[in-house]
Subunit: 342 residues, 2 copies
């Protein structure tokens, strides 16, 4: 069998020449990759910027994710943050640090994932620059930019008492997908459960839909601008969990968010059926699971919600700092992703 | 002795609350850290962007660099890229991935280094957002932004035959500083030379000036705008080596760059004296050493060079693709930093 070309076999310039044609182009590029820096259009005199790093181990496993999925997810999670500001994603820069024995094809497939995420989730957005480093730990840092087209940014601080709380996206799927990977995609080595590529193949063949949203999420990126145009008062990306992120919105807005039990139970029932788990398990996934990249937005009462958003609760007056998130009037503890605790 | 507080002891929100007050503020912030994304002013309807990742192992060693120096260097190397476009740095975003047992004080000192680099090298530039992740490998990714104030960006493609080639900064110091660290700051463990913190303390006490430019470089950031205003035709950051980066400028401009032997020997002589090394060693450092973050710029013939720039050569007609860099008419091989080969 012919050995794959490794990065350490190639000069840096050759690696870049093989990746560049696969990357998505940005409509906003004034000067693209290849110089010390890129120049990007910011037509209204401002730009939105967010950055996010994905690290092998805590954030993904190469035994589970394909390089294509990694590229897709790295783009998607950043595009969701831009969307959450009510902005249209315009460009990405990507810094990558990988071991020298990484096959060249891994980077090519990663570029394919970046490209298709941009094409599918945010047409016109593309990669305008990047950096390539060596590391023992496979690491991807994406910085994403967006354009507000003259609008005010949608922050998490604008929710007002009486607003309707609405959600776009599918809460709970990503964390149940991850739980499935831990349960069926690991084997025991020296008393520890470690990701297993062979078992993963079986899961991919048999249960692709149940892991797809975890491995390559497709957040409702275009609905960020839609929410802003529809008069949303606040908006945020739900990446750590519905309750934890809602508590942040409630705190920033000095209000509380009261979720509707029945609506959330509807999400949970769908999850229970799909994954064959108890309702209690899927309820926890809806409330406390991370990485779904739903958009949580508030709209003035009486406003017709834009297509794609579901009413999930109401903004009420905040009582105490510990009482920011409620489930039909009962306060619940916001729990979600914490990078150093998990 | 009281144990340092570790990151894993603190919730993410508390970590951020301790870091934020230490970070430099940006004059361009319209919406700062704390939301899904920041909003930055881009007054002329464009912005310059560059990204760079520093990884423990290939790019720095915690036994050698203090967290303050890491923060300083991460900012400085990105500010230099913005400057090389002829732009004024406006803002940074910083993504950090570190082990959970990292002391909280490490992040605080790193923030101090970021702040002082901005204050010293690019007043008005500040950190507008970031991300904090867990990783076994200490990794810092900085993305930097700049403002062109209506000017055309200075690319590496604008050099013209007859132009004067000029350099701002101190070539060779960083690589000789690194060589000193390898020679005197390592001890043998299992047959390999590994960085040694105790030996490092001795070097810091006795030879601070010889390692300072490697550990916390202070590139001539303000001279990027100065070069643009003085009519520079091309400009770039010298990060991989003078010959390798000059070959990239020459290739992009379809010309060749002929360096002046005597001027480069002047740099080398100064280095030889400072480090007590043979002239041949310091000549190699000037030509092939990386990480100095000098600015290499071309100016029309007859133009008075701005203060801070030294004439180092002339742009001549390119002959063949392999003949891009010459030393007084003799072609030399461009050699420098390659991330996966070293």
């Amino acid at each position: 069998m012919r050995r794959d070309t490794r990065l350490s076999d190639l000069p840096e310039g050759e690696i870049l020449r093989r990746i560049f044609p696969r990357l998505p182009e940005s409509d906003s590029t004034l000067l693209g990759p290849g110089d010390d820096a890129a120049v990007i259009a910011a037509p209204d005199g401002r730009f939105v910027v967010t950055t996010d790093m994905m690290v092998h181990g805590p954030d993904f496993r190469l035994e589970w994710s394909t390089p294509y999925e990694l590229g897709y997810k790295a783009a998607a999670s950043n595009l969701a943050d831009v969307a959450a500001m009510g902005a249209k994603p315009s460009a990405l820069v990507v810094a990558l640090a990988v071991p020298g024995d990484t096959p060249m094809s891994t980077l090519e497939q990663l570029a394919d994932g970046l490209r298709e995420a941009c094409q599918f989730l945010a047409p016109g957005c593309g990669v305008v620059g990047g950096d390539l480093s060596a590391s023992d730990t496979f690491t991807i840092a994406v910085t994403a930019f967006g354009d507000l087209d003259g609008r005010k940014p949608l922050t998490r601080a604008g929710a007002r008492v009486g607003d309707v709380v609405a959600l776009a996206g599918e809460p709970g799927w990503s964390s149940l997908g991850l739980a499935l990977l831990f349960a069926q995609g690991t084997s025991e080595v020296d008393g520890e459960r470690v990701p297993n590529a062979r078992l993963m193949k079986k899961i991919r063949d048999e249960l692709p839909n149940l892991i797809g949203r975890h491995l390559a999420p497709a957040p409702p990126v275009s609905l960020g601008v839609v929410a802003a145009q529809a008069g949303a008062t606040a908006c945020m990306d739900v990446s750590d969990s519905l309750t934890l992120d809602a508590s942040r919105m409630a705190e920033a807005s000095s209000v509380a968010i009261d979720f509707d039990h029945l609506v959330l139970d509807g999400f949970a029932a769908e999850l229970s059926q799909a994954y064959g788990v108890e309702l209690e398990v899927s309820r926890r996934a809806v409330l406390h699971g991370g990485e779904d990249h739903c958009l949580l937005a508030c709209f003035p009462p009486g406003e017709v919600l834009p297509a794609g958003f579901t009413r999930v609760g109401t903004v009420i007056a905040g009582r105490t700092a510990l009482d920011r998130v409620l489930l039909r009037g009962e306060s619940i503890e916001p729990i979600g992703w914490n990078p150093y605790a998990q």
